[in-house]
Symmetry: C2
Subunit: 306 residues, 2 copies
């Protein structure tokens, strides 16, 4: 089943203890699409500027990602500059230029209208809601958000949450959204806002899956650690790659069973672990499905009793 | 097989968002002993003062813990006062009084001489080494340490590490000991200092087990998340309870197989999760083996694909 994703396609300048890259292809929709493309056909809705050329287009095409929904607008693409010099777990933002993304009006190609899976990456909740409403056929709708929308655009975000089946956010966002420092309590509060399922990402420590009907004694449905890596080059896009691996695997399954959600957590973690091994999208571009399956098997051994 | 543990038996005054307790029984050897006592006979070596009375003695006796190695010295027991008001993951120390612990000279009762398992809790590495040398029959020796010894008593600590089979420390300590921020690389460096196995505890995020012969591609032998808890009352003693559950389970097994080490990680995590549910040792005192086994089964479901 194909997934339609709406979100940012951008250029990033990144500095980490491993070095620096200027204006490499990035953005949540890019990482999500590349990671998910190993499992299922992907269609992107985004806006880019004149600086998005054949080289960038080729990255999507090489993974058979449908780019008919990537609008070209006069001006420059969204640009982000950040560093992780002191702490690989937290980016320090030096510069953000919205450029053409500042007036983004998502346009959904007719050809995308039969996507049964929809991912609303981290953008203005007003736009997330508009896209969701324009794709009524979507039967599993997942979304991401961030502290900025939680803090300053709460009413619009709450409207989006009502229409989501699945929310993927990180620890800090979950606690902020719920106003509760305990993760289990925060998860319950977030699920009460609409989503039937919630994935909370813990960065280098893994992720936790909650369902609205998880028994209280269990706290959560599934918790996976992160794959231990000897070389972390660039954490940018790890969360979006997790989301792509998770949702891509789910969309590739014949039925949305609890077991499918559980396996999806491990695939999400695997894709997140690959993403950080090189700068930007370098590792995801070269990744192969056999490498994914090999690491999935290793990861299973690493986390299971037998 | 019995375990002999040497470490602190203390009184703690603790404040957390859930409330406050004054002068409750604590200390690394106390938490370790209670947690491990559910699996195997425990013998303690420690020193206490006049304030250690029948009520405290009864806590050990009710778990059939051998206290013949707890020396009574004139003066007061080790006392620690701390709070976790802003952050449940990190204690803020307000007061530490070593008292009789300041001149602790571990004395090993004859009756302990056949213990094949020895746990050197976090004390001066000079004393850890002395106890290890006085118990040559011990065939599995595990130890803990902390930033103070790593920073200011490194030569003595390095001597201890040479004689350890297993080291249990936290993230920060592993990185500090190795001088390397990457956990996988840090683990390899620590294992090169002596121990054949290393458990790195990640607080609320679980723990990772490394063996000297773990294949490089895998990064670690096993990684467990932490059991998600809806109510964390007091984090004091969580790490020592993990160590007790881990080492206690291991000592109860007929053979020290890789599978036994892996199960021990899950038991460690389970005991750590119980410890934080009430103040001080309250939860461990009332805990039962069926409760442990029930949570172990839940934890397995929560972390395994099938």
């Amino acid at each position: 089943m194909s997934i339609t994703v709406v979100g940012s396609v951008a250029f990033d300048s990144i500095e980490t203890p491993a070095g620096r890259r200027d204006r490499c292809l990035g953005g949540a929709a890019t990482y999500f699409s590349l990671a998910a493309s190993f499992f299922t056909p992907i269609r992107v809705i985004a806006v880019v500027g004149d600086d998005f050329g054949p080289a960038e287009e080729a990255v999507f095409e090489s993974h058979s990602i449908d780019t008919r929904g990537i609008e070209r607008a006069p001006g420059k693409s969204f640009f982000w500059e950040g560093s992780y010099l002191d702490n690989l777990n937290e980016a320090k933002t030096h510069n953000t230029e919205l450029n053409v993304f500042g007036s983004f009006e998502p346009k959904i190609p007719e050809a995308y209208a039969d996507s049964e899976f929809l991912f609303l990456a981290n953008i203005d909740p007003v736009l997330q809601r508009r896209v969701r409403q324009a794709m009524p056929q979507a039967r599993l709708v997942a979304g991401d958000t961030m502290n900025y929308w939680i803090k300053d655009h709460r009413p619009a975000l709450l409207e989006v949450l009502k229409g989501l089946d699945l929310l993927l956010i990180n620890d800090t966002e979950a606690r902020m959204l719920a106003g509760n420092p305990n993760l289990v309590q925060a998860a319950r509060a977030v699920l009460a806002l609409g989503p039937r399922s919630l994935v909370v990402k813990h960065g280098e420590y893994g992720a936790t899956l909650f369902h609205a009907d998880t028994p209280a004694i269990r706290g959560a449905d599934l918790r996976v650690p992160a794959f231990p890596l000897e070389h972390v080059v660039d954490p940018t896009g790890a969360g979006d790659s997790f989301a792509g691996g998770f949702f891509g695997y789910l969309a590739s399954q014949p039925a949305l069973t609890p077991a499918a959600f559980r396996s999806a957590m491990f695939y999400g973690s695997v894709l997140g672990s690959f993403a950080v091994e090189r700068f930007g999208t370098e590792r995801l571009r070269q990744l192969t499905r056999p490498e994914i399956d090999h690491r999935f098997a290793l990861f299973r051994e690493l986390t299971h009793l037998d």
